[in-house]
């Protein structure tokens, strides 16, 4: 059954299980340590792999002497150099798995399989790699210089020509605009640093390669691995039971998968390859740094007349599959504006490759755009939220069609304004410049849009009814820790009128059915929940038909009522009785979502209010309260939605205040490649977070009215914080994160622009 054949659940539909805070299914296993992650797997005869990484940011590998490593105790196999990679190529540049040229410090050059991880690591140290060190470059400004070393032989180290999109006449509109704001904004390189590092166990048996992967996309891993290894996709089975965080970095397979597979083929044994924290920080993806030159023109009422954004992002040494950063997005879509030009350039640098990271591009661009909008509001003396209202659009101006939820943003503005107490917020007197003016407080606002959160077809699912009346949902899609199992169980329970406890969910295995989407773009729930609902409805129809036969009446006369099939005039039977009567035939429902309505444009909007304190004596910025109101359509499970909002806000606070991968330009080495020095927020860095989804079914998105929630809540956090810091101390920051160093330097400059520091 196709989900579009089912009636919509319009706003106000009376639902029993959907919309309740059913506890996360796997919670007991996770809190008791029973949940098995791919790095926990211990198969009979399993070997452990360790990876040799280039210590140089750019070097030719002259030779690799593996002799001493092979003689180490416990070592079973060593693969090194181009030959060791057996023709497997990687990244969008299709470079050899172990290339003749290393293009970042951490680039893989060899791997070892041994009977223990310690033995494998010792053997890696025993490898003797002869490098010819080449000139390197890090940082997008430096990489763009004409004299910069060329990383892939492209002009200006660009990955491709700039992607330019323009509507209207931006130059003329800017020139004519009475109000102009122009700044260059910068955002840092941020590392996902999921608690579980990338890792896989591969077992190459004669007829099939089985991979247990920590991934956001079992189907994609099967596809890409098959392609890389010269297999048919049918020969590769990928299993993902639990994932300890992905945040986009696991939306594509990394070399751990291929290395484990090649070593397994050589040894005939299962091989586990999991990155250590260093590898995770340097060679498993990042949100690339950006430089955004933004010019905004407005009329004296604050209506946008022109936006011009020259956007440059750090791609790292290679490009990965999928969108690494949609930097143009908010400029093109968040506000009504007839004259918009965005130019996006990605630049190669001798650092680890960039990959999608929670709302990639939008998080970076929102900092710049929403800082500029706040500045415009202050310049004009217009309330920041009112300024957004004046610039609202209900239309996707790039595609010239309406949003599926054109009034979401105005409703979000109303809701967050009331929740936060925005209009009653304390108004600061203009601060004295510099420190030590003690602790000052401020409020900030930012709005957001996100290009995804809609279905990414196809999604397939089956629902089988067991003879005891319970149901089993089967789909290949993975649960990356967001609670997919739980919401799919809720949707099936709703359609089958079952208690949610009587619905089992089997997922995360490509052998279980047809392909499923990668969990990226916040697409999992909007794709899979409709498919599961359709499968459950299909099962219900089959059940009703069987009951009608057994009760000797027409299917139209039978209704399902909480475990009972009731005929209009001829009695009733329990579900179990009907199924028993049907046995050995079974009820097996099939559901799919294979297309989406193209007449509307589905977006997920949101907004955040931040309250901060800034200690002008120590430069400490503390976020003291966050209010987040995202639009994810219908809320299937408020507890899980709140978890995603809290997680996104937390990651946003890290992006705003502490997280930045620092690279030594001369050595080309990331210096803070550990959780000690790369500062993700601790629980004490996080404030009370009021997570209040709009909860308004978006029936333009699908029949359930559900959209994604994983990514959007992160987007407005950093600009809301930066705008609150401005409110507190009167300083506008154009670069993140707001470390003590950055804040104290700015305070010193504000106090005495001609002297180095205040007294």
């Amino acid at each position: 059954m196709d989900e579009s054949d089912l009636p919509t659940w319009p706003p106000g539909t009376d639902l029993e299980t959907v919309g309740t805070g059913v506890p996360r299914r796997e919670a007991p296993a996770k809190v008791t340590g029973g949940a098995v992650y791919s790095s926990d797997l211990r198969l009979p005869g399993q070997l452990y792999a360790a990876i040799a990484r280039s210590p140089h940011p750019h070097a030719r590998v002259r030779s690799i002497d593996t002799e001493r490593a092979r003689r180490q105790p416990g070592v079973v196999s060593v693969i090194a150099g181009e030959e060791g990679g057996e023709g497997v190529t990687w990244y969008e540049e299709s470079v050899p798995l172990f290339g003749p040229v290393a293009r970042f410090a951490g680039d893989e050059v060899a791997a070892v399989a041994a009977t223990s991880l310690e033995a494998a690591r010792d053997a890696v140290r025993a490898l003797n790699v002869d490098y010819e060190v080449l000139a390197h470059v890090v940082g997008i400004d430096e990489a763009q210089r004409p004299e910069a070393p060329s990383i892939h032989g492209t002009p200006g180290n660009r990955t491709t020509d700039p992607k330019v999109e323009e509507r209207g006449d931006v130059a003329a509109a800017l020139a004519a605009a009475p109000i102009r704001i122009e700044h260059t904004y910068r955002t840092p390189t941020a590392v996902h640093n999921a608690l579980e590092t990338h890792g896989a166990v591969a077992w190459w048996q004669p007829d099939r390669l089985t991979i247990w992967a920590s991934t956001q996309g079992v189907t994609q891993v099967a596809q890409m691995t098959a392609e890389a290894l010269g297999l048919d996709q049918s020969q590769v089975r990928v299993i993902t039971e639990h994932v300890g965080g992905g945040f986009g970095a696991k939306q594509v397979p990394w070399k751990d998968v291929a290395i484990a597979a090649l070593l397994s083929r050589r040894t005939g044994r299962p091989v586990q390859c999991a990155y250590d924290r260093h590898g995770e920080n340097v060679a498993a993806g990042k949100r690339g740094a950006t430089r955004q030159r933004v010019r905004i023109g407005a009329d004296t009422d604050g209506r946008l007349l022109a936006i011009d954004a020259e956007l440059v992002g750090d791609s790292g040494a290679y490009q990965t599959a999928g969108e690494a950063a949609a930097l143009w997005g908010p400029y093109q879509g968040l506000y009504r504006c007839d004259n918009v030009r965005t130019s996006v350039t990605y630049v190669y640098t001798n650092t680890g490759p960039a990959v999608a990271f929670r709302a990639p591009g939008y998080v970076e661009a929102a900092f710049a755009l929403e800082s500029a909008m706040d500045e415009l509001a202050h310049r004009l003396g217009v309330d920041p939220i009112e300024l957004r209202r004046r610039n609202h659009t209900g239309v996707d101006q790039q595609q010239a069609k309406p949003w599926s939820s054109p009034d979401s943003l105005p409703l979000i503005y109303d809701r967050i304004s009331a929740l936060a107490g925005w209009d009653a917020r304390p108004r600061n007197a203009p601060p004295a410049p510099g420190g030590d003016g003690g602790v000052r407080r401020g409020w900030g606002f930012a709005a957001s849009d996100w290009l995804a959160g809609k279905a990414n077809p196809p999604g397939y699912a089956s629902v089988e009814l067991r003879t005891d009346g319970s149901a089993e949902v089967v789909t290949t899609v993975q649960d990356i820790g967001t609670g997919t199992r739980t919401v799919l169980a809720q949707v099936a329970a709703e359609e089958l009128q079952l208690p949610v406890e009587e619905v089992r969910v089997t997922l995360g295995d490509t052998a279980a059915g047809p392909p499923s989407p990668t969990s990226s773009g916040s697409a999992t729930t909007p794709t899979m929940a409709p498919a599961v609902r359709a499968a459950a409805a299909d099962a219900r129809h089959q059940l009703v038909a069987a009951a009608a036969r057994q009760l000797d009446c027409a299917p139209g006369d039978v209704t399902l009522d909480h475990g009972k099939l009731v005929a209009a005039n001829s009695g009733s039977r329990t579900v179990a009785e009907v199924l028993e009567g049907l046995s050995p035939a079974a009820v097996h429902g099939w559901g799919e979502l294979v297309a989406v309505d193209d007449s509307v444009s589905v977006r997920t909007f949101g907004a955040a209010v931040a309250e901060v304190s800034v200690d002008t004596g120590t430069g400490e910025v503390r976020v003291t309260r966050m209010v987040s109101v995202p639009d994810c359509g219908r809320v299937l499970n408020p507890t899980l939605v709140a978890s995603q909002i809290i997680g996104g806000v937390t990651q946003g606070i890290g992006f705003a205040l502490t997280e930045s991968q620092l690279v030594d330009a001369e050595l080309g080495l990331p210096v803070n490649d550990s959780l000690e020095e790369y500062l993700v927020p601790t629980v004490l860095d996080i404030c009370p977070i009021e997570a209040v989804p709009l909860d308004r079914p978006d029936t333009g998105a699908n029949q359930l009215g559900v959209k994604g929630i994983g990514e959007p809540p992160m987007i407005p956090v950093a600009p809301a914080i930066a705008n609150a810091v401005f409110d507190a101390i009167g300083i506008r920051f154009h670069e993140l994160p707001l470390t003590r160093r950055r804040v104290l330097d700015a305070l010193a400059e504000a106090a005495s622009p001609d002297e180095s520091e205040p007294a």
Binding site: P55, A105, E118, R121, D122, R125, G435, D436, G617, T618, G619, E620, R622, L657, T658, L662, V663, D664, A665, E666, L667, L669, V671, N672, E676, E677, L679, P681, T682, L684, D685, T739, R740, R741, L744, D745, L747, A748, S756, E757, P758, A759
Partner: protein, 316 residues
């Protein structure tokens, strides 16, 4: 990590004689293990001091406290007597690391930690302190590095919070050597900048073991710390202020030099025992006298002045 032997010796007094440059003591291990894993240290053997009768007691002694070398940071943090009588020490340990680490880390081991400089700790870099050449931090990423005494061979800062507090408090350590000799050493003299011949931040010989730390009382004392997140980070700058029994005010900063840094200019600017608002203003302004910040860490100067001001105000 390279393989090593693991040894237990029940009598602490017998340990020093067994120690050599490659047979090293292990206590909490919170720093040593990270160094072993990074191959910064490659000992042949470790002698586990926790298996010995080395001191674990917190005792009141004349004029102060005596802490056995194996006393953990957690016990100091939660000890009512220490919190009341030497608050600078209790505050310093409570802001160090995390509860898990504080449950393991010992007070003596904390003083002997190696710097967290991200070049020194990086296996792919062989800096002067790690036995190689040069200091990449001097021209590299140095926002966490020293602002005083920066013309030496190394600009790493001392990582210990308690060390600054102990120097301000005038604490001493008791050291037992391999020949059975015992000596008393001020913490201020224990911790010294590394030299070409001794690329380590303390003066202990290979066969020396700290057996106790003696801390004079100073109920008017405090330690303030600035980090880039709320917890679990080393000090960007920390300031310990202590008023001794005879009324002397000592000010010592962490995060600004190879060792805990006595703020002599600030102490002199107090010009007398009265901590008046004017005197505190003068002292805070003088806290950065002689500072020579690097390219990325000029922010530490206003930070140091603020923390000095607030620490003095707290003990006034």
């Amino acid at each position: 990590m390279t393989p090593f032997d693991y040894q237990r010796i029940p009598e602490a007094a017998a340990v020093p004689a067994q120690l050599t440059p490659t047979v090293r003591p292990l206590a909490g291990g919170t720093d040593l293990l990270t160094r072993l894993k990074a191959c910064l240290d490659r000992p042949d053997a470790l002698v586990d001091l926790k298996a010995s009768d080395l001191g674990r007691a917190i005792d009141r002694v004349d004029g102060g406290w005596r802490l056995g070398a194996l006393v953990t940071l957690s016990r100091i943090q939660h000890h009512p007597g220490l919190r009341a009588d030497v608050p600078a020490l209790a505050e310093a340990v409570s802001q160090a690391a995390t509860p898990q680490l504080r449950n393991r880390a010992t007070i003596a081991g904390n003083l002997l930690q190696r710097p967290r400089c991200w070049y020194f700790r990086n296996e792919r870099v062989q800096c002067w302190l790690a036995g190689g050449e040069g200091c990449p931090a001097r021209s590299g990423r140095n926002e966490h590095h020293a602002v005083f005494d920066t013309d030496g061979p190394c600009v790493a800062t001392h990582p210990s919070d308690p060390a600054a507090a102990l120097v301000a408090l005038g604490a001493t350590v008791t050291v037992l050597d391999g020949g059975g000799g015992e000596r008393e050493l001020a913490v201020a003299d224990l911790l010294v900048p590394p030299t070409d011949e001794r690329r380590v931040e303390h003066v202990l010989a290979a066969d020396d073991v700290i057996t106790a730390v003696t801390v004079p009382s100073a109920p008017r004392s405090t330690y303030l710390k600035a980090m880039d997140r709320a917890v679990w980070a080393f000090a960007l700058v920390g300031v310990a202020a202590a008023v001794s029994a005879d009324g002397e005010v000592r000010l010592v900063a962490s995060g600004v030099a190879n060792t805990p840094w006595r703020l002599a200019g600030a102490e002199a600017a107090l010009a007398g025992p009265g901590l008046t608002p004017e005197a505190i203003d003068r002292a805070a302004a003088a806290a950065t006298d002689g500072a020579a910040p690097l390219a990325e860490n000029g922010y530490k100067l206003p930070l140091l002045r603020t923390l000095t001001h607030r620490a003095l105000t707290a003990v006034a």
